[in-house]
Assembly symmetry: C2
Homo-oligomer: 406 residues x 2
């Protein structure tokens, strides 16, 4: 009798070379020996995806997205075959599948496809035969039989979607860190591993720069209530559980501090302070598929105001071009770009019911003589834009202030 | 109106790097510009296949053949995507497909699958839209949706099978040499490119060591009368046509001289000269899947004889083990292995109707003081086993004797 089904996902660093792959095989078969059924989702080996992108870039700077998916999906196909061989070597039965073969049906948005449905039948069949089933992450197939990919970090999504479809008992996300930390341990060595965190907090942490898990996969896990266990592929220790609700005697107010240095701030100066101007700008940016994060428009004392927003570095050239166009059209002033910014954020479900958290954050930054350029808040997070050079000082000070090292 | 359909196949050396791929794209689009419909079959980039095999070898010395096919088929998938991007860059429409996507259905003999049928519909559809269709060579899919591969050189087979299925006007095999030569130009610089050669001669040439084309694909071309044009991907010159019948005013007797240094000779000594002994040995070798090429049993003057045969180096360990077992069972004498042999052969349809060809061959070897250890003949070829050190001398002497440099 099976003790239940576990879906395990191993990222690129966990399968970077033959030794790593053998290590994963040992881990997986250990669970099998203990009586679990296993579906294993694997990413491409180490830097394979980047190498393939470089190859494409040498041939065509603006490659067809359908052909990019054809190209990139080979990375995961290599991984699943090699992992199956490593598991066979240990004397266990295993079978590998591409996304297409297990019927991961997606829409046709190449390079960022959304999963429409999964035909779990083939996997169930092989599990019944006692086999460990290995599935290529990150990829699917559309109704026209074209190979699609789910975007960066898409293997997490594959794992979560399979866990939901197969009604798995748990979904384990193996990575090169031991779990989710209260902040980046490279910045604050006193950072602590978080035992349990809610989907909402994790979503804030992920989209605020903690790069452990892809936000879309957490959204899907939340939607279907799939409990996630983020843990290290190099250690047997438990990692961090991402769940619906964390029940504790005494609620923690702030759960983590995050830092994002990959954004720029764009400011449109001397805008007429009248309705519809902001709408015009952000509609154009949306049409140009520019991601906009924080937006600040100051109260105006004259009849003119400035609008500032932050956007990922990768979108900055496009954002600048569009903002300049809009500026000319509406007769606004200069457009400036500030590369020298960082965003620090504090995250925690507890802050909903606690007063003074924001004040505490601003106070700590002031004590450290760090000027705040923009502020944005949500139910469970507060973010400040500051000068890049103060970023690490701010993280350490906030980590201490909210007692996260305890 | 289309001028007709051409199937073109480009081998690994023709797509070894981005520059080579761009070169292939130029070549292909040149034909498109001239009004032809095109289906392009591509092999894996340069050494990709060997690199994947090495990777597998580091993980499992005896990998599952199903998983090897899963692994190796990624090589061609990478090539087709990159070639499509290169063609797009030149402003032409192109679409890439895996073997599975265009319905190349095979049996389930992984790593050496045979094509059962091809559903040409998808290709026809895309050709009608004016697209250049690029198909991954070497691979297919079995009825269970598992990926299969056709064995080394399988891309040739893909091209020939597609040419047959789509009723192509011609099938061009692009390679890194300019065509089929009267002998290896590295051995005899006076070697000449052959303009036309029959399927049968080419089969003899291919299986006798000329490594330009895979024998199975020539067999299929012969069976369905698909004319092949073997030519260089780096030169616009015509190469060699492989066709059913070559019509010439004056028939050429010998068309080529081939050399094979990749075999060993195994001799079983002091065998009782009675019926059934040879049968026993070669039945066991066949059961062990050992390829046996030439066989010689001498006339016996006592009541004992020796049996010698040649086998590829790769099979030699297995062949030796089986021969020793049989020797013990039938009470024969010692078993010896000779690594120091080479096979030189002359090939030509003309020799069927010409006398004295064999005598001419033996005479040339004698003049050069080269001892002949074994002889084997077919309708259109004569092969001699000689000491390895005389191999090149023999090739050059035979090339001259039969007037191939003219």
């Amino acid at each position: 009798m099976s003790k239940g089904l576990i879906v395990q996902k191993f990222g690129g660093s966990s399968v970077a070379n033959p030794e790593c792959i053998k290590n994963v095989a040992k881990r997986v078969t250990g669970y099998k020996k203990n009586g679990y059924d296993l579906v294993v989702v694997v990413s491409a080996l180490g830097d394979t995806t980047d190498e393939l992108i470089t190859l494409a870039d040498q041939i065509n700077k603006d490659p067809s997205e359908r052909e990019m998916d054809m190209l990139l999906s080979t990375g995961e196909q290599i991984s699943v075959a090699l992992l199956a061989m490593a598991i066979h070597k240990l004397g266990f039965e295993a079978i590998s599948f591409t996304g297409a073969q297990v019927g991961i049906i997606t829409d046709s948005s190449h390079m960022r496809a959304r999963i429409i449905k999964i035909n779990g039948g083939k996997i169930q069949q092989e599990l019944k035969k006692g086999k460990i089933v290995i599935v290529a992450g990150f990829q699917g197939i559309n109704l026209n039989q074209d190979i699609t990919t789910l975007g960066r970090g898409g293997s997490d999504l594959t794992a979560v979607a399979l866990a939901k479809e197969l009604k798995a008992n748990s979904c384990e996300i193996y990575t090169d860190v031991k779990g989710i930390y209260t902040t980046d341990p490279r910045i604050e060595p006193k950072a602590k591993k978080i035992k349990e965190i809610t989907y909402d907090e994790m979503l804030e942490m992920a989209s605020l720069g903690a790069q452990v898990m892809q936000p879309r996969s957490i959204e899907v896990a939340k939607k279907f209530d799939v409990p996630l266990h983020v843990r290290s592929s190099f250690s047997p220790d438990c990692g961090t559980m991402i769940i619906k609700e964390v029940k504790k005697m005494e609620e923690v107010v702030v759960n983590g501090v995050t830092l994002n240095k990959n954004e720029v701030k764009i400011t449109l100066c001397n805008v007429s302070d009248k309705p519809g101007v902001a709408a015009k700008l952000f509609k154009e940016l949306a049409c140009g598929q520019v991601s906009v994060d924080m937006i600040v428009q100051n109260v105006s004392h004259t009849r003119q105001t400035d609008i500032s927003f932050t956007t990922p570095k990768t979108d900055s050239a496009k954002a600048l071009r569009i903002t300049k166009l809009v500026a000319r059209r509406i007769g606004a002033g200069d457009v400036s770009v500030d590369q020298d910014i960082a965003r620090v954020s504090i995250v925690g479900v507890g802050m909903k019911s606690h007063h003074g958290v924001a004040a505490g954050m601003f106070g700590v930054l002031a004590e450290n003589k760090i000027n705040i350029e923009m502020i944005s808040t949500s139910d469970i997070s507060i973010s400040c834009i500051i000068k890049k050079k103060f970023a690490e000082t701010a993280v350490r000070a906030l980590h201490k202030k909210f007692g996260l090292a305890k």
